[in-house]
Symmetry: C2
């Protein structure tokens, strides 16, 4: 095989992949519309459209090897005959291909239809605080995910087979090891913090950060807070000619193409931070999406490495940047000016209040210290569901027990408990751990960025966020799936994933804030 022939075959593969991807993004548009715009009664028809398209995409994807094109290239990969970018295309395409071909088209379509319907049922069940309404759907989803794990195959836990689609190369055992260490660090660390509790004691705590930071009775008109969040998004380098910001119950980011990456956020007229931080979080994701090399669209070179790496981008912006003192040095005066009389605390107290650590019930409202315990609970429960050691009907009770054990609080309703997240209704089981992986990676990348960008925090304090975006684009975004998560971490930070960066970050930030001894 001549080099030229190889190049042609890669081009041929790219063309086929591109077609599949363009169809796939059509599904993403339907899903985005479903979350953002669709009228209630459109749900059933939409589920059918998504299901049919999912089946078609699956079919088209499997057809990329109908003449052995991919198999042939894979042989060349094994013989080490491909240059790194070609190797990445073939390696990662083969990974998805060999996974996809284990799933029959009927399975894919059923799953798409089931989850599209289940999302609406979940939304209703949550609104009505009625777990029983959602339970039969979740049972069917768990059943189908167990079936999926069987079809995919696994060595140790069926959970491995699910985890792998969100975080390639990661195993359940490894997650358990990391999470156990993290629990061992976090639970006593949180216990040492002088957590202020409500009068009802340690067991029921509502998130009352707001009252500390925002003057009582303040109202933030939705348009005005949207404008403010948009200014921050712009400063972060989010290109609004290649994106847009809408409102949805659960903020999310969706990529149709590097030139059309949309985020959603939410607006609480009483609390602008419920829009600022989700916006920064989603823009962190969106910068990854916009930073992928559009010339490789359709191939793994224009695809994110893993959800963990994706989440590292959102969390880096949301927490390391957005909840830092340098960031607010620049933005606090602007916020005060935009909303006169509302922010009366001096900057240091504002910063301290913003970073108050309190066990709370809602994951998305959790501070960056307690957040990972929310994830660990979800991981433990969904793993048990998939391994068949617990049942859906027992979830609410188990959820509440676990919250008491790890966070010392108990939800009074399932709405604030087991029904709070959309993930299970969408079939995203195996997804939650990537949130914590993201937190760990974000601390490790942040550490590297601070070392490499001279005066990074001073720049941020002056409102310059684009230097950081450029660094992330150069070191992470533009590579697509050229590296595995492990190799990316190695390339960017000189080390594989090392959770110590996260614990060091937490200690260094919260020790002084809470007056803990530095060796804590």
């Amino acid at each position: 095989m001549t080099e030229k022939k190889e190049r042609n075959e890669i081009e041929k593969l790219t063309e086929r992949l591109r077609e599949v991807t363009y169809l796939g993004t059509s599904i993403a548009v339907l899903q985005w519309d479903q979350e953002v715009n669709m009228p209630k009664k459109g749900a059933n028809a939409r589920a059918t459209s998504i299901s049919l398209l999912s089946g078609l995409v699956h079919q088209k994807f499997l057809a990329i090897d109908h003449d052995g094109l991919l198999s042939g290239l894979r042989k060349r990969l094994e013989d080490k005959k491909l240059v790194p970018s070609e190797a990445a295309i073939v390696r990662e395409t083969w990974r998805s291909f060999s996974r996809a071909r284990k799933l029959p088209e009927t399975f894919v379509k059923e799953m798409a239809e089931l989850t599209s319907r289940a999302q609406n049922v979940w939304a209703e069940a949550r609104a009505e605080n009625n777990f029983a309404k959602f339970a039969p759907y979740l049972e069917r989803i768990v059943e189908k995910k167990r079936e999926e794990a069987k079809l995919i195959g696994y060595e140790e836990s069926p959970y491995d087979a699910l985890l792998d689609s969100y975080e390639p190369d990661m195993t359940t055992v490894e997650i358990e090891r990391i999470f156990t260490d993290l629990k061992t660090f976090l639970v006593p660390f949180i216990a040492r913090l002088p957590v202020r509790c409500t009068q009802t004691g340690f067991r029921k705590v509502s998130n009352n950060k707001r009252s500390l930071v925002i003057a009582q009775g303040a109202i933030f008109p939705v348009e005005q807070q949207a404008e403010f969040s948009k200014r921050i998004a712009g400063a972060m380098g989010y290109d609004l000619e290649a994106g847009r910001i809408d409102a949805s119950t659960h903020p999310f980011t969706t990529d149709f193409h590097p030139h059309d990456v949309r985020i959603t956020t939410r607006y609480n007229p009483k609390n602008i931070f419920e829009s600022i931080f989700p916006t920064m979080h989603e823009v962190g994701h969106a910068l990854y999406g916009q930073g992928l090399p559009h010339e490789h669209f359709g191939t793994p070179l224009a695809d994110a490495i893993s959800l963990g790496i994706h989440e590292s981008q959102s969390r880096l912006w949301e927490n390391m940047v957005g909840k830092s003192l340098p960031f607010w040095k620049h933005w606090y005066p602007k916020l005060q000016k935009e909303f006169p009389g509302v922010f009366t605390l001096p900057l240091p107290s504002f910063y301290r209040s913003l970073n108050r650590v309190t066990p709370t019930l809602i994951r998305v409202e959790a501070d960056e210290v307690t957040y990972n315990l929310h994830i660990i609970i979800r991981f433990e429960l969904e793993k048990a569901l998939i391994e068949g050691t617990i049942e859906v009907k027992d979830l609410p009770a188990l959820w509440n027990e676990r919250y008491q054990e790890y966070l010392g609080i108990i939800p009074t309703t399932d709405r604030e408990g087991v029904l709070q997240d959309v993930h299970w209704s969408t079939g995203y089981i195996g997804y939650f751990p990537t949130y914590t992986l993201g937190n760990l990676y974000s601390a490790q990348f942040w550490n590297a960025a601070k070392k490499e960008i001279r005066g990074l925090e001073q720049k941020i304090a002056k409102g310059d966020l684009k230097t950081l975006r450029e660094w992330l684009r150069k070191h992470i975004h533009r590579h697509g799936k050229l590296y595995s998560a492990e190799n990316l971490a190695l390339a960017v930070t000189g080390e594989k994933l090392n959770p110590d960066y996260f614990s060091a970050y937490i200690r260094a930030k919260y020790g002084p804030l809470y007056g803990l001894p530095t060796e804590a």
Copy 2:
């Protein structure tokens, strides 16, 4: 063939059609998103997605007869062995099928991609008042539409082949006959009206209705006018749990399913009527969409008969209802209450001003009398383009000449002239005449409704719009394509299309308004 077998075959066909339709509605979602939400840079990727999906839908549609299912049923149709609803399914499916199979998939995909891109170029060209920018795209579109006409085949004019896809069974000759009669009635009728002209004489007239009806300097906040239009939409019976209202440059209606029928409108802060009438117009369309029998979704029984019939629904609501005295008897006090001090004219003068007839440049702003002349101009020009007797480069000059001839006014810019409409950029050539057919049908249906619904105008004056909606649903919407346009008119009004109803309506309404003798 037993009856049961036939029923089973119809069911099989229905299932196949449904699948194609669900995929087709995915394209409609992408197109809706393109108009309403898509960020600018997403245009190229979207064009590719739409093109690929269009190709797939085309493929899937042709495959419905892969085993001769449709051909077999068609034989049964010819032998008159089918009941009317089955006959309609087979007849109309065969009509689209035999059209579609004449178009190669590459042609369909190229056309979809070309027009998706052309729309963006047109929007830019219009904004920049730069016809030359759009011209090369329009040339390619005309060329491809001529190719389409050749592929489809025709007897007299290639325009027949295009017209047929929007208005089945209609011919160019018939349109010419109707339009000639209409011109013969309209041009002298308008000439007899005491049209008030601007100081620059009869040749340049701007639309200055506003100043007559709305107090000078009045501003209508977008949210407030949206709310008002929504109230009217609700009163008309538009189900907002199965629809939604957004803003777009050109108002339009799109049906994904009878349970998800969306309209767009526009908002001019200085003129609420630019939102009220487009909203009523689009809701008129949407009521047809929501009134189609969802249990037949995917088959011709849940599809609109023709664009002319569709337009009859929108125009009936916009003009016969929305610009009538009874309607405003109910709504004018509400409008006055909602916007205090803005509407000071007494109702009769308000009504007269609302119905002022003035030649204007912009089709969508035209009154119901001059409107059809806008259509006739477009028809004559696009027919000549398709027949190859004129060229794209000559359009601006020809456009302006024709405006002078029929309406006595000349656009000063192409933006107000030949660039004003989106249709040609989307490849909708053969579409314009259906607007006038809609006007003609609307007068004919309105006449029948007034005869059959006792006290219809009194009901409307009391705010009851739903009785009319029910009548339209019962007599028109719920039948889908059971009847042809001709047979529907026969069934509902006892006559085929009869343009005299329109001229009678215009005479009866505008004669008294302008103090003309009734025999005018």
